[in-house]
């Protein structure tokens, strides 16, 4: 134990890749690196203090050994990833309220930091609300579907990689996993509508299911098309492929528009918010969820909206690369590629907000007609175009 002489021996800022328990294989992971160094500062300081009091103890060494460092680094890693997504969602929320306000000839939110703190205040407000639920709901499904809707939304929002070094998992079929989890919510909404013992909720839940069968198929066809053009289902690979050629919204313009509209429907935003149509069904499937339950559902909604924007950015807008600038090889710790990705996402969300501002809610039969008679042919047309590219050897 003699080699620990000063505090700098305890806090050594280790290289994450040198850690034998490093969970991400060969790929460098920025949030893990940050959390490992954070733990090194915190844990090293504690270890140094303990070592001062009891020189040569085993606890100090345990605190800074590779395994412990890895464990605590993963805990901090989760917090960091979630906090970044959470703040991004707050920004999205603020953007929506502010842009909607201005486009409607009013001011939008006004509380603190150009209205940004209004979202925080609203969050605290929902905490103070009474947690009311009807006595005659089906308790099991009522609570479980709520948790699952929120849980899957948080899960997919955290699984959207912000860059090739800011990810949670990097599977070969990462795109499929994200989209698969994304499509789960309508099932939960259907069951939740059944469980609430309320006719409005029931209709809202049925509408969610009705809507899902119309937009899901063209959306999956387009995802398959993108994967076909990129030659991989790995998100990193898709972004790389777009840097190599063109952002896919140029060759696949048809697919881009179709996917954009399907993504709005997927995240249940206006004009496709049929399941919570507040003018005819009071709050749709959310009618019986009061207080913080409702607040969390709204958070989940915006998480899904953010996630939809992220998927559009990844699939069509070149991800975290700028045209001509290969930010993937960014060597600095400065989060430039991550910010690029987020800014692109906010831009896409801006267009979603404008569409929300300009359109009323569509009817159930309209979205079925659109899905099967317009989007499905367009998606197949897009597939044909890409197959032609591939066969012609253009891409």
């Amino acid at each position: 134990m003699g080699y620990y002489t000063s505090i700098q021996d305890w806090i050594a800022f280790p290289d994450p890749l040198a850690n034998p328990y490093y969970p991400f294989g060969d790929a460098y992971n920025l949030p893990y690196d940050i959390s490992l160094k954070l733990w090194n500062i915190v844990g090293g300081a504690i270890a140094w203090l303990i070592d001062l009091l009891f020189p040569g103890n085993a606890v100090s060494e345990w605190l800074v050994c590779d395994m412990t460092a890895n464990f605590f680094a993963l805990v901090i890693f989760m917090l960091i990833v979630f906090m970044v997504v959470f703040i991004a969602v707050l920004v999205v929320l603020w953007e929506e309220r502010k842009v909607l306000g201005r486009a409607m000839d009013r001011r939008g939110t006004m509380v603190g930091m150009m209205g940004f703190l209004q979202c925080v205040a609203d969050g605290f407000k929902t905490f103070m609300k009474d947690n009311i639920y009807s006595k005659r709901v089906d308790g099991m499904t009522y609570w479980w579907t709520l948790s699952l809707i929120i849980g899957t939304s948080v899960l997919i929002a955290c699984m959207v990689p912000l860059s090739d070094r800011w990810f949670v998992v990097d599977y070969e079929c990462g795109l499929l996993i994200v989209m698969g989890l994304f499509a789960l919510a309508p099932f939960f909404i259907l069951v939740s509508g059944w469980s609430q013992n309320n006719k409005y909720s029931l209709i809202g839940g049925l509408r969610a299911a009705e809507m899902m069968i119309s937009y899901e198929i063209p959306m999956l066809i387009i995802i398959a098309t993108v994967a076909l053009q990129a030659g991989t289902l790995n998100i990193n690979g898709i972004v790389e492929a777009q840097y190599g050629t063109l952002p896919y919204f140029i060759p696949q313009a048809v697919g881009f528009v179709t996917f954009f509209i399907c993504a709005i429907a997927e995240s249940e935003r206006a004009p496709f918010d049929l399941a919570e149509a507040e003018s005819e069904l009071v709050e749709g499937w959310q009618t019986e969820y009061a207080g913080m339950k409702w607040g969390l559902i709204m958070l989940a909604d915006y998480l899904r909206g953010f996630c939809a924007c992220g998927m559009i950015v990844i699939l069509f807008l070149g991800g975290w690369n700028l045209p001509g600038v290969h930010l993937t090889e960014w060597e600095s710790w400065l989060p430039v590629p991550e910010l690029t990705f987020l800014l692109k996402g906010f831009l896409v969300f801006f267009i979603m907000v404008i569409i929300r501002c300009a359109t009323p809610r569509v009817r159930t039969d309209t979205i079925l007609n659109l899905g099967w008679k317009v989007f499905l042919p367009l998606a197949i047309l897009n597939l044909v175009i890409v197959v032609t590219y591939k066969a012609g050897g253009i891409f």
């Binding site: 909607l100 409607m104 004009p271 003018s279 069904l281 501002c357 300009a358 359109t359 009323p360 569509v362």
Partner: protein
């Protein structure tokens, strides 16, 4: 299920206390879920024998986002398709007609404002017209033109409020705020004219409260021109949008015959091809001396009613400009208010007016004192809402707010 008074026809005998208790016990047991599944199956089978189990009754209102005001629409839905509807009004009944019997004639004017919060001056105008008829009073030209301008300002205000409601009923808040913004300018015109935004208390028996102030003469033309420019923003958002069109075209269709049988008046009837407007066909005040057109469409769906109302707004602008010219030609010194006697000779008199929502009428029975013996109001919406069943039958649940928005409910006058 709704109207069936079952259990009443049982031999005329009152149920004993024990029977009542047992029934209540049984009901409570169902509510508390004390039956196991086999018992529950029996109950459901017994009820299913007499009930239409495929269809669902949904009570919309009185506290529901689609009902602008307190009224209830009970609908029977077969999936998303509406098969039946029962409108229920009366939650806002204030005994208006009875209250007027205890007021002197001038004091009823502020009360007539409260009949319709969206277009208060039309009802006040109607009331004053009816009393003037009873007094056999021919009011000055200038007062007639000022009343026309005030009426049209209120028609615009009411139609803009309707437009705002159409926006929220279709799930778009933008229309609500843009239409409210335009409405605010007309409210400002009300303030310039008489000092109040909504409950104006402006027409008087024998004329109007005050002459048009200079500031009103200046701003009304500006406001009209501004509105004719800004309405195109709203038109661009609604008429040029395929989603709005798909929501409105072909929904809520009624025929001319149904219109006639149900007594529907106003824009709802003019969108169905009934070419009648009391302003043109039975002109009161000076409506026969100003130029305007009455839009009529034969399609009979929500969109036709929408277009009729939008065109009515623009026609109101034309009327205002024309009438303001005539007012200015009459000069500042011409009389605008006659001194009306406080007692009205005995008789029965009837007045009608083209309200923003249809044809409003008042029937006055006076007995020679300074208070009316009876004052009956015929509200257009009370009649129009009876059409809700033929309107919504066969449409989807999502269409109900849109269709009922085209009727433009106003509960103040409906329930009185």
């Amino acid at each position: 299920m709704m109207a069936d008074g079952s259990g009443k026809e049982g031999a005329g005998a009152e149920p004993t206390r024990a029977q009542v208790d047992a029934e209540q016990e049984f009901d409570r047991a169902i509510v508390e879920g004390k039956f196991d599944s086999v018992d529950m199956r029996k109950v459901l089978d017994a009820e299913g024998g007499v009930m239409d189990m495929d269809k669902m009754w949904i009570t919309m209102g009185p506290q529901h986002p689609f009902s602008h005001g307190l009224w209830t629409l009970i609908i029977q839905a077969d999936g998303e398709i509406v098969t039946d509807a029962i409108p229920i009004v009366g939650y806002l009944h204030r005994g208006w007609e009875k209250e007027t019997e205890n007021r002197t004639y001038p004091k009823i004017i502020p009360m007539a404002d409260r009949l319709c919060y969206a277009a208060s001056m039309t009802y006040t105008h109607l009331y004053c017209m009816t009393v003037e008829k009873a007094l056999d009073l021919e009011i000055p030209e200038k007062a007639k033109y000022i009343r026309i301008v005030a009426d049209e300002i209120n028609r615009l205000q009411s139609h803009l409020m309707w437009l705002a409601a159409v926006g929220t009923d279709m799930g778009n808040f933008t229309i609500f705020l843009w239409a409210s913004r335009e409405r605010e300018f007309w409210m400002d015109m009300n303030i310039r004219l008489c000092g109040a935004r909504m409950t104006t208390n402006y027409p008087r028996i024998g004329g109007v409260r005050n002459d048009t102030p200079d500031i009103f003469d200046r701003d009304i033309i500006r406001c009209t021109e501004h509105f004719e420019k800004m309405i195109w923003e709203i038109i661009g958002l609604i008429d040029n949008s395929s989603i709005y069109q798909s929501r409105m075209v072909g929904t809520g269709i009624i025929t001319r015959e149904q219109c006639a049988n149900l007594g529907i008046t106003g824009p709802a009837a003019r969108g169905t091809g009934v070419d009648f407007d009391a302003r043109r066909d039975d002109p009161y005040d000076n409506y026969d001396k100003v130029g305007f057109e009455v839009p009529v469409l034969t399609a009979g769906d929500s969109y036709a009613r929408y277009v009729v109302r939008m065109e009515e707004m623009l026609q109101s602008c034309i009327i205002i400009k024309d009438a303001m010219q005539k007012i200015q030609a009459l000069g500042k010194n011409s009389p605008y208010r006659l001194k009306a006697p406080s007692r009205v000779p005995a008789g029965r008199h009837f007045g009608r007016i083209e309200d923003c929502r249809g044809e409003a009428m008042m029937y006055l029975v006076s007995d020679g004192t300074d208070k009316p013996y009876r004052l009956k109001v015929r509200s257009p919406i009370f009649i129009n809402v009876s059409a809700s069943k033929p309107l919504v039958q066969g449409c989807r649940i999502a269409d109900i707010p849109v269709i009922m928005a085209m009727i433009d409910m106003c509960l103040g006058e409906t329930d009185r």
